[in-house]
C-alpha cells in the first residue's frame, strides 16, 4: 500500500511538473509580448523595453525557466532573519520551504497572494456545485431507475437531456434574472461581504453549474441503477422480503457508486480549475476568470500559478478517487491486497 502510494505521488508530481513546464513553453512560444501588455498599446517603445528588462523578460527562455524552477520551491530564511525583498513574493508551505510563483506582471502582487485570495472562493463554489449536482443527479437518477418507463422516468430523462443541452450561460442568466432581478431573493452577483453573504452569493452560481452536472449524473445513475436492479443479487434481496426502498438504496445504489465517484472526482478537479462562464456571469472571483484574464494579458506568473493549482487539483482528486475505490469496493481492496 505504501509503495503504491509513493508510486502514485511520484507520478502525480511528474504530471504537475510536465503540465507546468509545457505551459511555460507554450506561453513563451506565442508571438506576443507580455511587456507590451503591461505597458499598454500606446506606450512608447522605450518604456516597453524598460519594463521588459525590469520583468526579466529580456533574458533567454532557458534563463527564465531556470529562474522559475529555482525559486518555485526554495529554503526559507531562518526564522530570526528578515525575509527581505527576495522573499516578498513567497508563501511558506512547509516549515522550511517557501513556494514562490513570482509577481503578477499586471497586478504587481505576489501570485501566491492572488491565489490565496481566489482559491477559497473557488473551492467554495466547486464544493457547492458538486453537492448540487450530486444530490440532484443521484436523486433523479435513482427515482428514474426505480420508476423505469413511467412518466417520472421520462420526465427525468427529458429534463436531463435539456440540462445537458442548455448552455451554462443560458441557465445562469435565466437564474440570475428570475431569482435575483425579478424575485429579489438572492444577490445578483459577487461574493458577498460577510459569511451570510458568501452563503447567499454561492446559491445561483452553484445551481448554474450544478444543474448542468446534475443532468449528466441523472443519466449515469439511471443507467447504472437499471443495470444493478436487474442483477441476481437484487432478485435475491427482494425474495428475502426486503422493501423496495431498502433494495434500491442499500444494495443497488451502493453498487452503482463507482462510476459516480469517478465522475465526481474528475468534476471536482475540473471545477477547482475554474468555471469560466459561470464566474463571468456571477462576477465570482475564482481561478477560472483569473486564468482567462492572465492568458489574455499574457501574465505569465499568474497563468503558471493557475495551471499549477488546476493540475494539482485534478491530480489530487484522481488520487482520492483511486483510493476511494478501495474503501468503497471490497473487491478492489482484495485485489490490491
Amino acid at each position: 500500500m505504501v509503495a503504491r502510494l509513493c508510486l502514485r505521488l511520484g507520478w502525480a508530481f511528474f504530471v504537475v511538473w510536465a503540465t507546468v513546464s509545457l505551459t511555460f513553453l507554450v506561453h513563451h512560444a506565442l508571438p506576443s509580448d507580455p511587456a507590451r501588455m503591461v505597458a499598454g498599446p500606446q506606450a512608447r517603445p522605450a518604456d516597453v523595453v524598460r519594463i521588459r528588462e525590469e520583468l526579466g523578460l529580456d533574458k533567454s527562455i532557458y534563463v527564465q525557466y531556470a529562474r522559475f524552477l529555482g525559486r518555485l520551491a526554495h529554503r526559507a530564511p531562518h526564522a530570526d532573519a528578515s525575509p527581505g525583498e527576495n522573499h516578498a513574493s513567497c508563501a511558506r508551505i512547509l516549515w522550511a520551504v517557501h513556494l514562490d510563483l513570482g509577481k503578477s506582471y499586471q497586478q504587481r502582487r505576489p501570485v501566491v497572494t492572488i491565489l490565496r485570495e481566489r482559491l477559497p472562493r473557488t473551492l467554495w463554489l466547486a464544493l457547492a456545485a458538486a453537492s448540487v449536482q450530486l444530490v440532484l443527479g443521484v436523486t433523479a437518477g435513482v427515482l428514474a431507475a426505480a420508476h423505469k418507463k413511467t412518466l417520472l422516468d421520462h420526465l427525468a430523462v427529458s429534463t436531463s437531456l435539456l440540462g445537458t443541452s442548455a448552455p451554462t450561460f443560458v441557465i445562469g442568466l435565466f437564474l440570475q434574472w428570475l431569482f435575483a432581478f425579478r424575485l429579489g431573493l438572492l444577490p445578483l452577483d459577487g461574493w458577498g461581504d460577510s459569511s451570510g453573504g458568501h452563503v447567499a452569493s454561492v446559491v445561483l452560481p452553484a445551481f448554474t453549474l450544478g444543474l448542468f452536472g446534475a443532468a449528466y449524473y441523472t443519466r449515469i445513475v439511471r443507467d447504472e441503477m437499471i443495470g444493478q436492479l436487474s442483477e441476481d443479487y437484487i432478485r435475491t434481496a427482494r425474495a428475502k422480503g426486503l422493501s423496495g426502498r431498502a433494495v434500491t438504496l442499500r444494495h443497488a445504489l451502493r453498487n452503482a457508486y463507482m462510476p459516480i465517484v469517478t465522475v465526481l472526482g474528475v468534476d471536482v478537479g475540473t471545477l477547482v480549475g475554474g468555471a469560466i462562464v459561470t464566474e463571468s456571469i456571477f462576477r465570482w472571483p475564482g481561478i477560472g476568470s483569473l486564468s482567462v484574464t492572465a492568458m489574455l494579458d499574457r501574465d505569465g506568473p499568474v497563468l503558471m500559478g493557475c495551471v499549477m493549482v488546476t493540475s494539482v487539483a485534478v491530480v489530487v482528486s484522481s488520487l482520492v478517487v483511486d483510493f476511494a475505490y478501495a474503501l468503497l469496493d471490497p473487491r478492489v481492496r482484495g485485489a490490491r491486497a
Binding site: 505597458a39 512608447r44 435575483a180 445578483l188 451570510g196 446559491v203 462576477r283 489574455l296
Partner: protein, 593 residues
C-alpha cells in the same frame, strides 16, 4: 392491488408534471416580459433642479473591465484614471471645460522663452495621512515616477524635462529639471519650449504622493495622495471592487459631497443593466447595444444621459513600406472608397464618421480642414493613376493580389472589416482577413515589414493634437519592433510641422501648424480614418451634477446624491446583509443619508 397502486402513482406523476409544466410556462412568460422593450422607471430625486448640493451618500459605478494597479507612477489601464483622479490631485488639472487650471498650485507662471515653469503651491494642503504637501513632495513624486525602476508606461512622454536622459540612464541621482525653491515653490525646466508640457503635467503620472511612498516605486505601497477621496486599508478587493471614502482634509472646502464611492469591476453588461434598474448601480456606461438606443429614445431617461466627448480615432492603417500601400495613389483610393456613413451603422449609437486624425473632443480639432472623404469615382481615378485601373461593370482590373488584413478577436473591427472588404472590392482591392488574439495582434502590428494592413486606433494621452500625430505619423515613432507608427509613414514635412507645433507656445499658430500636418496626412493617407468612438453615460435622476468630464470621464468630487424618500433600492431578500443578520454576523451596509 399492484396495478391500482401503479395507476395511482402514474396519475399523481401526471398531475405533478402538468402542474410543473404550468409553472414553467408562467416563468417563461415572465422571462419574456423581462426582455421586453420596457425600460426601468427612473428612480426620482428628492428635490427640485434648483436645490443646493447636499453632503452624504454612496455612489456606485461599474465596469466590465478591471483595474490592475493604483499608483500614479503606473497607469496602464482604462479604469485607473477615473479612480486616480479621485485620489490624487495634481499641480494643474483640466476643468470641466477641458481647460488647464491650477489645482495644488495656487498659481503658476511660464518664462517668456517657454522653458521655465514656476509653481507656487497652496499652503496647508493635506495628504490623506494628514501630512502637509510641500514642494519637496512634488519633486520626490516626480523623481519616483520617472525613475528607471518605476514601471511607468508613459515615462518617455516626459523626456523634455531637463536631465531626463541622465536620470533614466542612472547617470544622475536626481532630475536636474525639477527644483525646490522654498517650502511651497517648485520649478520645472524643459530643454526646449514644449506646448505639451503643461497638458502632460495635468495628467496623472507625476501627481504628488504621500511621504509613505518613499523616493522609489514599490508595489507594496498603500495608495495615498491629496485628492478628494482616500482609500482605507482593505478598501480595494482586487478583481471585485474598490471603495473610496471622503478625505476630510481635502483642500477645497465643502468638497467632496459624497461620503464614498464604489467602483465594481468585472460586471457584465446584463448584470449592470439589472443593477442599474434597481438602483444598486447609479451610473450606467456599458450598454447592450440595442438598449442604448432605447434609453436614448425614452423621454423619461433623456435628461439623464449624455455622450462623452470623442477622444479616440480609428481607421485602416496601411503599411507604407509594403506593397501595394507603398503606392500613395492606392492609399488615396482606399481612403476615398470608404463610405464612413455606412460603416457607422455597425454601431450607430457609438460611432461617428471620421475624416481627420484628431477627434472632435481634442483641443485643436479643426472641422474646417480638408480631411478625407468618400467618393467612389475619385477612388477609381486613384486606382487608374496607381496603374491598376478597375472596371466596376466587368469587375476586371484592380490590384491583382489578395491583401492580408490582420485584426483581432472580440473587437469592433471584426465586424467593421467585413463592410470594409465589400467597399474596397468596388475599386478592385481584395482583402483576406486574418484574425488573431489581441496580444498577438499588438506584437505583429508594431513589427517592421510584418503587417500589410490592419485596424489602427489611438486614444488621447493628453488633450493635444500632438498626442495623436506624433506617435502615429512622425518618423521618429518608427521602430523595428513595438512601433507606434504602425503604418511606418515617414514624411519630412510632416515631421517638421509636428515638431514645430510642439515647440510653438502660441495656441493659434500651433493649431494652424497641426492643421497643415493633418491635411498632408489626410492626403497621403497612411491611414484611412473610419470612425471616432464615443461613450454614452446614463445616470439615475437622483445622481445630481453628474456630467462626463472631458478628460477624466468621472469627476466624483462634485457629484451629489438626492434620493427621494423611501427605499433606496430593491435588495435581495437573502442578500448578504439579511443572511448576516440571521447568522448574527457583522453587517456592512451601504451608507445613505
Amino acid at each position: 392491488m399492484r396495478s391500482i397502486r401503479e395507476k395511482t402513482s402514474r396519475e399523481k406523476t401526471t398531475r405533478c408534471a402538468v402542474r410543473l409544466g404550468r409553472q414553467v410556462h408562467l416563468v417563461l412568460l415572465g422571462f419574456n416580459a423581462g426582455c421586453s422593450p420596457e425600460l426601468p422607471t427612473p428612480l426620482p430625486s428628492g428635490h427640485s433642479e434648483a436645490a443646493l448640493p447636499r453632503r452624504g451618500g454612496a455612489l456606485t459605478l461599474a465596469s466590465f473591465g478591471d483595474m490592475r494597479t493604483l499608483d500614479p507612477a503606473n497607469v496602464a489601464d482604462g479604469i485607473a484614471p477615473q479612480v486616480l483622479q479621485a485620489m490624487f490631485a495634481g499641480l494643474v488639472d483640466y476643468d470641466t471645460q477641458g481647460q488647464i487650471q491650477p489645482e495644488l498650485a495656487k498659481r503658476y507662471s511660464v518664462s517668456s522663452d517657454g522653458t521655465h515653469y514656476r509653481f507656487v503651491l497652496r499652503e496647508g494642503v493635506r495628504f490623506h495621512d494628514g501630512e502637509e504637501l510641500t514642494a519637496d513632495d512634488v519633486k520626490r513624486s516626480v523623481e519616483r515616477a520617472l525613475h528607471p525602476t518605476s514601471p511607468n508606461p508613459s515615462s518617455a512622454s516626459y523626456a523634455s524635462i531637463k536631465g531626463y536622459a541622465a536620470f533614466i540612464a542612472r547617470k544622475a541621482e536626481h532630475l536636474d529639471g525639477v527644483s525646490v525653491e522654498g517650502r511651497y515653490v517648485v520649478t520645472f525646466d524643459v530643454d526646449r519650449p514644449d506646448s505639451s508640457f503643461l497638458p502632460l503635467l495635468a495628467m496623472q503620472p507625476l501627481r504628488p504622493v504621500c511621504k509613505s511612498a518613499g523616493t522609489r516605486y514599490a508595489d507594496t505601497w498603500h495608495p495615498c495622495g491629496a485628492g478628494p477621496f482616500k482609500l482605507l486599508p482593505g478598501g480595494w478587493d482586487h478583481g471585485r471592487q474598490i471603495k473610496l471614502v471622503r478625505h476630510p482634509g481635502y483642500f477645497r472646502p465643502g468638497l467632496p459631497y459624497l461620503d464614498s464611492f464604489t467602483y465594481l469591476f468585472n460586471v457584465n453588461t446584463t448584470s449592470q443593466r439589472f443593477k442599474f434598474a434597481t438602483g444598486e448601480q447609479d451610473v450606467l456606461r456599458d450598454f447592450l447595444a440595442p438598449e442604448l438606443l432605447k434609453f436614448q429614445a425614452d423621454p423619461r431617461w433623456r435628461p439623464y444621459g449624455e455622450y462623452e466627448i470623442e477622444k479616440q480615432v480609428a481607421g485602416l492603417a496601411m503599411n507604407t513600406e509594403l506593397a501595394p500601400f507603398d503606392n500613395v495613389e492606392i492609399r488615396r483610393a482606399v481612403a476615398t472608397a470608404l463610405d464612413r456613413d455606412q460603416l457607422q451603422q455597425v454601431r450607430a449609437s457609438n460611432l461617428r464618421p471620421a475624416y481627420l486624425p484628431v477627434p472632435p473632443g481634442v483641443e485643436g480639432y479643426d472641422a474646417s480642414l480638408k480631411g478625407q472623404h468618400f467618393d467612389l469615382n475619385e477612388a477609381l481615378d486613384h486606382m487608374k493613376r496607381a496603374g491598376y485601373p478597375f472596371d466596376p461593370a466587368t469587375r476586371t482590373g484592380g490590384w491583382p493580389h489578395i491583401i492580408p488584413y490582420l485584426t483581432y478577436t472580440q473587437g469592433l473591427d471584426e465586424y467593421l472589416v467585413q463592410i470594409v472588404m465589400q467597399q474596397l472590392a468596388r475599386i478592385g482591392i481584395r482583402l483576406e482577413v486574418r484574425i488573431v488574439n489581441y496580444p498577438t495582434f499588438l506584437a505583429l502590428r508594431g513589427r517592421r515589414k510584418q503587417t500589410v494592413a490592419g485596424p489602427g486606433f489611438w486614444q488621447q494621452d493628453y488633450p493635444e493634437p500632438g498626442s495623436f500625430l506624433e506617435p502615429l505619423f512622425h518618423s521618429k515613432s518608427i521602430n523595428d519592433e513595438e512601433s507606434n507608427n504602425a503604418s511606418f509613414y515617414a514624411n519630412s514635412r510632416v515631421d517638421e510641422l509636428i515638431d514645430r507645433a510642439r515647440h510653438e507656445l502660441n495656441p493659434e499658430r500651433r493649431k494652424k501648424t497641426y492643421g497643415e500636418a493633418q491635411e498632408i496626412i489626410c492626403d497621403e493617407a497612411p491611414w484611412a480614418f473610419t470612425h471616432y468612438y464615443r461613450f454614452f453615460v446614463q445616470w439615475q435622476p437622483y445622481v445630481r451634477d453628474y456630467r462626463p468630464h472631458p478628460t477624466w470621464t468621472l469627476d466624483a468630487a462634485r457629484v451629489w446624491l438626492d434620493h427621494a424618500a423611501g427605499p433606496l433600492a430593491t435588495r435581495a431578500l437573502f442578500s448578504g446583509d439579511a443572511l448576516a443578520k440571521l447568522l448574527g454576523t457583522r453587517i456592512r451596509g451601504r451608507a445613505t443619508w
